[in-house]
């Protein structure tokens, strides 16, 4: 058989255990390499309890990225000084020595001048420690990118506040009523799709779990749901608050949980902070004895959740009451007007949800009795990505709080990003019986400074995720922001900032044009790296080493990536490249120190990186593996991963005995601190800073997108689906095939009625204009779109002419978005991701592909 086998997986060769990197996450794979050394099949690894041998379409296409004929094969230098989206860089191959020396020289120049002048965009999600490299570059905290902020600005800090974790989602193993609000979990994306989809299918089909999807588009999740609830974009928070209103009004919530396990009962004063005694201890109100008591008073008979009282001479209310007051106007009728969801639907879902939560019931898992709350509200990118990032994400959490399902079996659970060590834990004690909130999930807080040290004003986002788009403000009006330097160097590693950044593309073009030096590190050229001066080719995931655990929802433990073959081209690992650059800049020791910190090697000092040594990707992977449970690389090579089901004691209510934060006072205390700092420094933009975004409890304020001028009478959203990771894998022919034949990716989605009103038919070329930009595309008329909303797939978002397979789509959605303070959450850094647009027919049915291409080209760039 083996000699004459024609099917790739049974040809003579060997299987190598590794990890998939076709999206952010890390499903386990096995890679087949023939006797002739050709990688000819990638499959799921059946031993990982997450994906169990399954693999999504992206993972199946991994080897095509390895073998992409347009891989960067050698370091290259630009010879055409003109930089623009259509300019041919005039690449010339150079040696590594010349390349690294040039890069080292230029970066050293920047380092010696002012390290802040470097704009990094380092976005290899499988190697998060690389993102910390700028810290070694003189403490540089710049970030020329919004990867992570578009989907996770409000999301990650809030998970840190509530669960002390990076991510969160629903418990697939036990949930019976699952609400999916603007997230693709289990269907399209987010959190190990191949694994999540498997367990989601079992929950739906084998266990009969009910699924309700709330979002403007008939997504895969909506299609498989028992009910699709179309909703107007940027009103998801209101929907959630509407549910809360019903549950509170009709007394359907888990009062016991709120009283025992949360700080909803702590009394809040007029300034929004907890009232404290002289020892800084907080108060609650004992309903039975009708007096205030300290939170840990042993004689408390019953906690008040509502009411107004007086303590220490001030008027106080429990945090719960403040929430109830904030949403007193969120009746189903009013919420219906805001969201376009029928009032009856809001009521029905709230009641069904609360009923399914089985408040009061318990379940025994691993011999331990736990509260059983099999109803959970999940949400992600589309629902959370709004100007009111913090309070929007908080509102979604509160739906779960009300039914007591936070971190409970069947409920909404925090998922850690990377545990580093098997028993490290992720819950720390805070004060007054609460857990410590840990909003800094991505990197440590960037210290306050004025004049700003960062070009994106991160100095003023102590709780947020990098709002890289704010460089459009500081770069062009430096005096307004007190900038005392102008960035002039860029390092782009595994990133496509021009693609991911929201807002005025012409401004980003100008920033790039004004860079003295740009170095790019990648495996394929993209829209941004085509502007580089030097390109350094790095290894594909099938040629490199890594050890990665990245927010798995069902499992824990790191997964090994190992090379299947020797590098195809003259490429180096990212580690080697950063080592070489660091050495030339003179920061190698700093870099090793930063890695020790980023990878927590200091917890096991024998693993720490020593000064003066350049560590390879293999050595870093080996150390990360040993960090987990002292297993060496050979163990990992044989097993492929250390992935096991998440342990119940770590997964369910790991904070048992402490209180979690219903009312997030830390947000207000940090705001006050920031205000004091800014006042002291006499920061000139104090008065335009969006202070209202800081809140301990959500309100029902409308996001500013709803107040765009009336001529923009439709909403627009963007989306990706399971085939597409951001937009990067559109270079893979197999993916290209299934994407460009999929109706939802074939054009701008518009509802039949909305289309008819504008004389738009299937295949017509249409124009979308917002207050901030314009894009074009062929119309795709569908019933599966909210009547006021158009949908623009990521599949339409690329524009590079450099790749034989990537199609220029004309629909770079982010151009429609603003990049200003007004549309950024001051607390979380989250930018507004939905838009209001005017939709017009541009040209009827241009069947000629060349006609379409030339029109799209005109609107591809502002200039």
């Amino acid at each position: 058989m083996p000699e004459s086998a024609v099917q790739n997986s049974v040809k003579s060769g060997k299987w190598i255990n590794s990890t998939c990197k076709m999206c952010l996450h890390s499903c386990s794979t096995r890679v087949h390499v023939t006797d002739e050394g050709v990688v000819n099949k990638v499959e799921g690894n059946p031993t990982n309890p997450s994906n169990e041998g399954g693999l999504c379409p992206k993972g199946n296409g991994a080897l095509m990225r390895l073998y992409d004929p347009q891989r960067i094969k050698t370091p290259m230098k630009r010879t055409n000084p003109r930089k623009g989206p259509d300019d041919d860089p005039g690449w010339v191959a150079i040696s590594w020595e010349e390349a690294l020396d040039t890069v080292g020289k230029e970066l050293k120049k920047t380092f010696d001048d002012d390290p802040r002048k470097l704009l990094p965009a380092i976005n290899d999600f499988h190697k998060l420690y690389l993102w910390a490299w700028p810290a070694a570059f003189g403490g540089n905290a710049n970030y020329f990118s919004v990867v992570g902020t578009q989907c996770g600005g409000g999301y990650h800090p809030m998970n840190g506040f509530i669960h002390s974790s990076f991510a969160a989602g629903n418990d697939t193993e036990h949930c019976n009523y699952w609400i999916n609000n603007g997230g693709g979990d289990g269907f399209s994306s987010h959190l190990h799709m191949a694994g999540a989809a498997r367990h989601m299918a079992r929950a739906r089909v084998d266990r009969g779990m009910k699924l309700v999807t709330v979002e403007p588009r008939l997504s895969i999740s909506a299609a498989k749901s028992d009910e699709w609830v179309p909703i107007r974009p940027a009103t998801d928070r209101h929907f959630a608050l509407g549910l809360c209103h019903v549950m509170i009004e009709e007394n359907l919530y888990d009062a016991k949980f709120l009283k025992k396990d949360t700080n909803a009962v702590y009394l809040v004063g007029p300034d929004g902070l907890f009232v404290r005694n002289k020892d800084k201890k907080t108060y609650v109100w004992d309903l039975v004895d009708n007096k205030a008591k300290l939170w840990d008073d042993k004689t408390i008979k019953d906690f008040a959740l509502e009411g107004e009282y007086e303590v220490e001479g001030v008027k106080v209310s429990p945090g719960f009451q403040l929430f109830k007051t904030n949403i007193s106007q969120c009746t189903p009728e009013r919420i219906s007007g805001i969201t376009t969801v029928p009032a009856e639907t809001i009521q029905r879902i709230a009641r069904d949800f609360a009923k399914a939560a089985s408040i009061g019931s318990t379940i025994t898992i691993d011999g331990k009795e736990l509260p059983f709350r099999p109803a959970a509200y999940n949400y992600y990118r589309g629902a959370q990505g709004h100007k009111t990032g913090t309070m929007t994400n908080h509102a979604f959490k509160l739906v779960n709080f009300l039914v007591g399902c936070i971190d409970a079996p069947g409920g909404h659970i925090g998922f850690t990003l990377d545990d580093f060590m098997i028993d490290r834990g992720h819950i720390w004690e805070g004060e007054n019986g609460q857990i410590k909130t840990t909003p800094h999930q991505l990197h440590p807080e960037v210290p306050y400074a004025y004049p700003p040290n960062t070009a994106h004003l991160m100095d003023y986002f102590p709780l947020g995720v990098d709002p890289g788009h704010l460089i459009t403000q500081t770069y062009f009006e430096p005096e307004k922001w007190g900038m005392d330097y102008k960035p002039d160097t860029m390092l782009i590693c595994h990133s496509n900032p021009l693609w991911n950044l929201n807002g005025p593309q012409d401004k980003y073009f100008e920033i790039l044009r004004n860079m003295r030096f740009i170095v790019a590190i990648d495996i394929l050229l993209n829209e941004t790296t085509a502007w580089a001066d030097i390109v350094l080719p790095t290894l594909d995931n099938l040629e490199r080493w890594n050890m990665v655990m990245i927010e798995p929802p069902i499992t824990e433990g790191p997964c090994l990536t190992q090379p299947a073959i020797e590098p195809l081209w003259d490429c180096k690992s990212e580690e080697e490249i950063f080592n070489e650059i660091s050495e030339r800049v003179g920061i190698l020791d700093n870099w090793n120190e930063v890695q020790n910190f980023a990878n927590m090697f200091f917890e096991k000092p024998e693993l720490m990186l020593k000064p003066g040594i350049k560590y390879s990707d293999k050595e870093i992977a080996e150390r990360k593996g040993k960090m987990w449970d002292n297993k060496d690389l050979n163990w990992f090579k044989e097993k492929g991963h250390a992935s096991t089901m998440r342990r119940p004691d770590k997964f369910y209510r790991p904070w048992e005995g402490q209180r979690i934060h219903f009312y997030i006072e830390d947000i207000l205390t940090r705001k006050i601190q920031l205000q004091e700092d800014m006042k002291k420094s006499k920061v000139p933009f104090y008065d335009i800073w969006e202070w209202d975004d800081y809140g301990a409890i959500p309100t029902a304020v409308l996001d500013p997108v709803h107040k765009e001028p009336e001529e923009f009478d439709m909403y627009a959203i963007t989306f990706k689906d399971v085939e597409v990771n951001f937009g990067e894998n559109l270079s893979i022919p197999w993916i290209d095939d299934i994407v460009h034949k999929n109706p939802v990716h074939m054009g701008i989605l518009i509802n039949t009625v909305a289309a008819k009103k504008r004389n738009i038919e299937n295949g017509d070329l249409i124009k979308l204009t917002s207050n901030y930009g314009t894009i074009m595309g062929l119309a795709r008329v569908t019933e599966g779109m909210h009547i006021e909303t158009v949908g623009v797939s990521n599949a339409l978002s690329r524009w590079t002419g450099y790749h034989a397979v990537v199609k220029a789509g004309g629909g770079h959605y982010n151009r429609l978005l603003p990049a200003n303070l007004k549309n950024t959450c001051a607390c979380s850094g989250q930018m507004e991701t939905s838009a209001k647009v005017r939709v017009e027919l541009f040209r009827k049915n241009p069947n000629d592909e060349d006609v379409v291409k030339s029109e799209l080209a005109k609107y591809r760039y502002a200039k």
Partner: protein, 296 residues
Amino acid sequence: MPLRTYDIVGDEYRVGYRKQDAWGWKIALAFFFGDVGAGTFFVSAFYNYMPGMIFGWILTTFFKPAALFMHLGQPLRFWRAITNVRTAWISRGIVGAILFTGFGFLHMVNLKWAIFGPALGGIIFFLAMAGTFIVMIYLGYVLSHSPSLPLWNTGLMPVISLVYGLMGGVTMTLLFGVNSFLAADPAALHFLKTAELILIGITLISILSMLHGAAYNSSTGMATVRQLLFGEHQKWFLGYVVLVGIIAAGLLALTGSTAIFILLLVAITELIGDFGLKMVLFKSALYSPPLSHSTV
């Protein structure tokens, strides 16, 4: 608006009618040459009219395989095409063509030089005619042997195939023979001209019936017919097949004229209709949506 509708989809990942795209003009040409060649030989043979027989024989023996070779993916293996006479109509048709080529040649030789006796000559003649008959009719069986394309899956197909073959034969024989053997045989001339009109009439009714049957067979059939009458293939069908190939040919034939120019026009219009029909049958055929039943 209907809750569940189907459109004609290209290679889009959408449930709908999909177009037949494996058979195109090359194989249509092959069948066309075979049809016309066999028909001309068949009709001419009844009158021992050598020029017609030679013409038909050359068309089927050389032109048909030439067109077929252009269509086949592996033409050098063409000889394998006769190995499945047990179930495949293409095999049977090729066997028919071989019978026609071999015994047709022998018959023409016999006619010219009378080298076989009457018994053997009769058998040769019979086999040659059997071959031509098979060649004329087998396209219809090939098309209707599978339920895959509703337009093709009708009992009328062999009739249509045969009738076009005969029609081609009659018009070509008339054209070639009007000033030779038919000038001396007014009964034959009258018979052929009447046969021509009858055949055109049968063609018209068969095609109308084919449309009717397809339209009321399934939604796929209806979608196909709509393409022929109102959609993408309207020009070919209503124009070339009906207007030119049936109506014009019919009207010209009805004039009863035996002027060579008119007979030429009749032949040309009829042949255009013949090739046009094959082309439009191939191009317009639609596959049914794979699963119109699902309920989730």
